[in-house]
Amino acid sequence: MNADLLVPVVRETALVRCNPVAKLAAGAVLAVAVVLSIDVVSAAVMLGLVVLMLPLTGLDLAILVKRLWFLPLAALMAGWGTALLSQKTGTVIVDAGPLLLTSDSLTMGAAVALRALALALPAVILIATIDPTDLADSLIQHLRLPATFVLAALAAARLVTLFIAEWQTLTQARRARGVAGGNVFARVGGFFQTSFALLVQAIRRGTRLAMAMEGRGFGAQDRTWARVSSFHPRDGVLLAGAIIAAAVTIGAAVAAGTWNFIFTIGS
């Protein structure tokens, strides 16, 4: 994966060394606890817990903030949408023609914004701390996912950096041909044309990669494994921690009476 896209790990903490499947499981537990309800308490509690845990992740926090500045913006945007469109009950706060915001709709909006951040942050940590090769080994050896698909996906993921560079080259090449810029329609057209060129290059490269992989025996029936993926007690600790965090989150919302199950909202 592209090092420039990821938040760098500066300390090899116990969490960094955990098995990728254990990390994924922990992340899934946290995500489920947040996604099932839209309410301020559960979202805020989870977000707070994850932020408190950040020092254990070994991530460079300054770079984390610098690189992901757009996440709070996107979360605010989602929250704003919900504030506009949810049930206008409670006290009226803003009433300006078509724009009507009430205490309940604003609370709902705040919940959606916090929830978006509480969903995003654990994934950022996972993506930054999981080594793709270790993940593939673990997915195949422990979750029994089909090896050919996982290995092909792993080999393809290595091309992310190459494709990003290729996108930039294609954009420069368009300008060199004299067709860059123009009005908004020309730009949308240019976007699709560049995407198309990238897809053609991807299919060609993929066909060659398939040949190279098959040329080294890929697809044979009896495969062996150079690397063994194993679990360690710390993986259990990680999972237990995630379950406790989920329980605290849901418990707090239920205790506060704000638990708002997504499948029953509005009914």
Binding site: M1, L5, L6, L24, G27, A31, V35, R67, A74, M77, A78, W80, G81, T82, L85, S86, Q87, A111, A116, L117, L119, A120, L121, A123, L126, I127, P146, A147, T148, F149, A152, A153, A155, A156, L159, V160, F163, I164, V188, F191, T194, S195, F196, L198, L199, V200, A202, I203, G206, T207, A210, M211, M213, G219, Q221, R223, I262, F263, I265, G266
Partner: protein
């Protein structure tokens, strides 16, 4: 692996109609190209959200369901993947992998992108499966785009727009369906035709027409 076709060097002229693979089983080239295609589509998703999502932000701020008009691009992976690879599960696989790749630089769906990818890929996969992976006409592609767009809207309504009132969710669903049909269905159809003309699909049934050149 049982999902990989055992190699046989005999290659009899296949009796299947033009454009339909001889077997439903995945060859190595199917698996690898589907994976690489998914990664490239993931990059396209990423570039899309960098540029056009930002430009359309004012519209979304005024009336959020209008963002449904642009969501078709997010389901492109499933429709195009199914259309190019033409094997069972291709739409689902390409969409899920593309969604995961697009999440690498960070987004506010978090791990839920896997769920979103599954839901969106499923919409297209269902249509191709209903046609027994044998019909890849313009109509079939448009319906696959529609299916993917609608399933995206249903998923988003449950997980993210849950607090919206019903009429807004309904309108969002209509927008997303149209968007899927056009930006995923129609675009995939023309993209396939254009890619086939470059000769890049020589190893695939989708790259061959009945006419030999």
């Amino acid at each position: 692996m049982s999902d990989v076709q055992t190699r046989h060097t005999d290659s009899e002229p296949n009796p299947t109609p033009a454009g339909v693979p001889a077997t439903m089983r995945w060859r190595v080239v199917d698996i690898v190209v589907a994976s690489v295609l998914a990664v490239a589509i993931g990059i396209v998703f990423w570039a899309w959200s960098n540029s056009w999502e930002t430009i359309s932000a004012p519209f979304q701020a005024l009336y959020p369901p209008t963002k449904g008009l642009l969501t078709g691009v997010w389901v492109l992976g499933g429709v195009l993947g199914g259309l190019i690879i033409r094997k069972p599960g291709a739409a689902l696989y390409v969409e899920v992998l593309a969604a995961i790749v697009s999440a690498v630089p960070g987004n506010y769906f978090g791990l839920m992108v896997i769920v979103s990818g599954l839901i969106q890929g499923f919409g297209a996969e269902l249509i191709f499966a209903a046609l027994r992976y044998r019909r890849y006409t313009l109509t079939a592609t448009l319906i696959a785009g529609l299916g993917a767009g609608l399933s995206l809207a249903i998923g988003e309504n449950i997980f993210y727009n849950a607090a919206w009132t019903f009429e807004h969710k309904a309108l969002y669903t209509v927008f997303a369906g149209i968007s899927g049909m056009v930006l995923a269905g129609l675009v995939s159809w023309f993209a396939l035709k254009a890619i086939a003309r470059t000769g890049a699909l020589g190893a695939f049934a989708s790259g061959r027409s009945a006419r030999e050149v």
